[in-house]
């Protein structure tokens, strides 16, 4: 199985991130593909550099995943999976957010695929993306109460007169 070459260029990636954020880079433990944890204030500048920098050219944003770590740990995470077609690199970017009022900058200005992917994360977790052109629920009905994929989600009894539990 071909392995992509991310591990070879890891040193360049770490120096680049260090230049932008002027902090030490934290790696995601046990992650395939290689991943780094980014603070939410630096997210937009890091993504911008990753998209434009000629050493990497991460031009495809494949997936945005939201994770709710549970009410005890009181964090939520958003994970971005990037892929670079010219260099065959994959990268995972993780942002850790507080569980109450989670808010994050939208990367729609860099990758258009973030439009619907972020809407889905908003719909399922309630994470608000600032500067998103059209943030509304995408999969659930617009007047649904609650965010389904949260760990402490309890559905209502009735929705518009229809019993939810069957």
């Amino acid at each position: 199985m071909k392995k992509n070459r991310m591990s070879v260029e890891r040193a360049d990636l770490l120096t680049l991130i260090r230049q932008i954020t002027s902090e030490d880079v934290v790696e995601i433990p046990n992650s395939t593909p290689y991943g780094i944890i980014v603070k939410k204030e630096n997210l937009l500048s890091v993504c911008d550099q990753l998209h434009k920098n000629s050493a990497f050219y991460f031009d495809i944003l494949s997936c945005i995943t939201g994770i709710d770590n549970g009410p005890e740990t009181r964090t939520m995470e958003v994970i971005y999976h990037l892929y670079s077609i010219p260099f065959n690199y994959s990268l995972a970017l993780k942002v850790i957010l507080p569980r109450e009022n989670p808010e994050l900058e939208s990367v729609v200005s860099i990758w258009k695929s973030a439009n619907w992917l972020e809407r889905e994360v908003y719909d399922m977790f309630g994470i608000v993306f600032k500067n998103h052109p059209d943030l509304r629920r995408i999969l659930m009905p617009a007047d649904w109460k609650g965010y389904p994929l949260r760990k402490d989600y309890k559905h209502e009894e009735y929705y518009r007169g229809v019993k939810i539990e069957y």
Binding site: M1, T32, D59, S62, T65, I67, S113, W116
Partner: protein, 404 residues
């Protein structure tokens, strides 16, 4: 005196999926047309809100979620191997490919990828390619149906019937197979399957040629689809579009070659791309042409797999497809993103395992049709409404995967 049983309220259901455009805010020549959740195309329940100036479209807003069954919440309450039937039901026309991607992901997490017997891998690839042909047949046939051509649809259904009978013989079900398990397969191939498969390939190759002559090279089809819905390559890459849509825009990018998963590095096949033969590169005709050419390539792959399955990796009495299937699936704490080439694009699964239970902490399905559909508003500005149907058909969505 009977009481009134139904009182018409104009905005009764509008709260649950409100339109993005309100009729009061429009200019005088614009109007909102609703291509409602039920419409004669067989893509599924998709609602398109079209803001149009006469017949020319100014904006399209897709409303989805009518088939949302929250696969991800179910996956958070079931052990890894019990999620496989749910994975089937996402993209129901290409279920083997979805199962293949999911099984590959969990096997990578467990670290047992090297131990899977070669025969199992070849059978998986054979099933995946058979299902790729079935999925592309549906794409092309229903596309013809959308545009008004009835005959290709019947030809497709006749040929797909052979495929479904083959798959039913192997796995027990016509459409939602639950065949590719984590660590192996449910059953081995039945005796005589390879020979029937070869007969099918021999029967089917001329039929694809007939389909090409009837539909793809048809003057009316070319007029309806060439130069319509052109997807420029930079927009495609930026919007995360993958699969035949990306290849139709000119980029030779196929995950079977790029990632080289399973036994694909040992097989020979070409990757067709759109070249703008009948119009611009990246129009609807190119995407459909790429799909038809991929059917030929899938037949080639099937031939090579059958050679291997009758030659080096012949069936033996001791072969047990469930030999490596683990009794307890408890991967160590890790995160993994696995992607595979579905007929419609890149299907990705993101797993987060916490090392303490048999149940995934988070299993996210990155659905190809979901991301492919998001590019519809961009490529359908300024076209006629009939062209919108042509563009929607060429994107080849399956609502089970869009909504999950």
């Amino acid at each position: 005196m009977k009481e009134q049983q139904y009182i018409y309220k104009e905005d009764n259901l509008i709260d649950s999926e409100p339109n993005k455009f309100k009729s009061k805010e429009l200019k005088s020549e614009e109007m909102i047309i609703n291509l409602g959740p039920q419409h004669p195309s067989t893509h599924g329940v998709l609602r398109l809100e079209v803001l149009s100036d006469g017949e020319i479209i100014k904006d399209v807003v897709p409303h989805i979620g009518y088939l949302h069954r929250c696969f991800e919440k179910h996956a958070e309450s079931l052990p890894y191997n019990q999620v496989i039937p749910f994975v089937d039901r996402m993209d129901y026309v290409a279920a083997m490919n979805s199962e293949h991607a999911y099984a590959m992901g969990v096997e990578r997490m467990l670290g047992i990828t090297e131990q899977i017997p070669k025969r199992v891998e070849y059978i998986r690839v054979l099933m995946a390619e058979i299902n790729r042909i079935a999925s592309h047949l549906i794409a092309v046939g229903t596309y013809g149906l959308d545009l008004g051509a009835f005959t290709p649809f019947f030809w497709i259904m006749r040929d797909r019937e052979h495929i479904l009978r083959l798959l039913e013989w192997a796995s027990g079900a016509r459409m939602l197979y639950n065949y590719i398990w984590i660590g192996g397969l449910f059953y081995d191939l039945p005796v005589g399957f390879e020979q029937r498969c070869r007969e099918f390939i021999k029967y089917f190759k001329p039929k694809v040629g007939e389909l090409e002559k009837l539909l793809i090279n048809n003057k009316i089809f070319i007029d309806r689809t060439a130069n319509v819905g052109v997807l420029p390559l930079n927009l495609a890459i930026n919007s995360g579009v993958t699969g035949p849509m990306l290849r139709g825009s000119g980029l030779r990018f196929d995950l079977r070659r790029v990632d080289g998963y399973s036994v694909y590095p040992e097989l020979e096949f070409e990757i067709p791309i759109g070249e703008g033969k009948m119009g611009q590169v990246g129009d609807c005709w190119d995407r459909t042409w790429v799909r038809v050419k991929e059917i030929y390539e899938s037949l080639r792959i099937m031939d090579q797999c059958l050679d291997k399955l009758e030659g080096e990796h012949k069936r033996t009495r001791e072969f047990d497809p469930q030999a490596i299937v683990p009794k307890k699936i408890r991967p160590k704490a890790q995160e993994l993103y696995v992607r595979a080439e579905n007929p419609k694009g890149e299907l990705g699964f993101y797993f987060r395992a916490d090392g303490k239970s048999d149940i995934p902490f988070r299993c996210k399905a990155r659905a190809c049709s979901f991301v492919n559909l998001s590019v519809l508003p961009e490529i359908s500005r300024g076209v006629l409404i009939a062209d919108l149907i042509a563009i929607l058909g060429s994107i080849d969505i399956v609502l089970g995967e869009v909504d999950r």
